[in-house]
Point group: C2
Chain length 250, copies 2
């Protein structure tokens, strides 16, 4: 479907959202990590707007002018890049507490698409204001740099995955990564719903959807996981970890 009109929460800000940052359950993972109350207040003042997205809606599109980065308050996103000739590739899945949009800084325009894979809400962080504020709050500056750097390190990990792992190993790495991120958010590390389709997961992992499906079935046959459509239950976290540990170790 076409993108639906943005659902923005505008001017109520003054009281009800004033300390939204302070209350947000994504806080510990998000930008404001480590800020003092006063600094948090400044940041909260800056984050003027929340934006809600329905499943399937774009947060931004490749080429959109860049003006803000986004902290995911609730929900789940994918980012993908598309070339002129129609090649398309999922570059990441993002969950709450994570930051979207840093691709746009370098060229003043977004360099990928960000799509909500479930109904979601983000905090809009005007980038000019973030830069301005971070010049006066060293902790914020530091933390923002860490967030960008973490993205770089994460991408290197994916490059390694794409360059060196076999299909089943890629799936295992993917599942373990999700598991660990859910755990960090207080959810079950062994039981969750995939928000992405097999096709999207395949694109992310450099595999075809059939291969993703087969690999999941194999893992189920090995009694390491249980799969039912998008529902995943990891029955042996250790078993999965071992699969990644030894390729030639025997």
């Amino acid at each position: 479907m076409k993108a639906v009109a943005l659902q923005v929460i505008p001017a109520i800000k003054l009281h009800s959202l004033k300390d939204a940052c302070a209350q947000c359950n994504a806080r510990e993972l998000c930008l404001p990590q480590g800020l003092s109350d006063a600094e948090l207040q400044q940041l909260d003042d800056m984050v003027g707007v929340r934006q809600k997205l329905k499943r399937g809606e774009h947060l931004y599109r490749n080429g959109d002018p860049f003006s803000a980065i986004y902290a995911i308050k609730t929900g789940f996103f994918k980012t993908d890049v598309v070339t002129e000739d129609g090649r398309d590739h999922v570059t990441g899945f993002q969950m709450h507490g994570e930051i979207l949009g840093m691709d746009g800084i370098s060229g003043d325009a977004h360099a990928c698409n960000a799509v909500a894979l479930e109904d979601s809400e983000v905090c809009v962080i005007p980038f000019a204001e973030l830069e301005h504020l971070s010049a006066t709050i060293p902790t914020l500056q530091r933390h923002f740099h860490r967030v960008m750097s973490r993205e770089i390190v994460r991408d290197h990990g994916i490059m390694m995955l794409l360059g060196t792992l076999r299909a089943e190993e890629r799936l295992v790495a993917f599942l373990l990564n999700l598991s660990q991120r859910y755990a960090a958010r207080g959810y079950s590390p062994t039981e969750f719903h995939l928000r992405a389709t097999r096709d999207e997961i395949g694109s992310y992992l450099g595999l075809k959807l059939e291969t993703v499906s087969r690999a999941l079935s194999q893992l189920q046959d090995s009694e390491l996981i249980q799969v039912q459509q998008k529902y995943i239950r990891i029955t042996s976290l250790d078993g999965l970890k071992k699969m990644l540990a030894h390729t030639q170790t025997c």
Copy 2:
């Protein structure tokens, strides 16, 4: 071989290197892009130390404590990540004017290895000072953020390459990328020496060294390039570009 003692140029700084930044031929591509003379002077004062590396030496290793990023003044580097189980993957090749070390910001320790592929020289940029200075020079702050963002966007491009291109296309993308970067530095876009071995290129592109060799030979047979060991001459830039443009376009 083991890492050799670092060859650091220390205190001569005061006069001979005082305006090294201002004179550096990498300036236009490097961090100081767009700074005023006065700001450049501040930056130059901060960049206290140059460091020379011989071919094969490590600039930093995975796990090394992070304290600085590095601007390549001359030379050529690779970065690679290694997992516990010995998997190793080249994440990038860097040439002069480019910045190394941003992987280290997030964890206060470097997350990859950086190795000189030829005798090289880098400017050491103490990160704490960079953050401090960039808080007072908005242009510098902005530019640093752009550099980090560009790295993220670049990595997404590589992920796309690894996820969607076939062997020969990956080689083409690699050669075109080198060509374009050499062109941006005033070198010939059609004639250059590869600094990396087939094995390193293969690791970077997610291919085995034999496949790299074969793909280069095929491109030569198609009369798009001439190869002689590490020497590359592109005889049809357009031909190469067309190879990337249409996969299914016919």
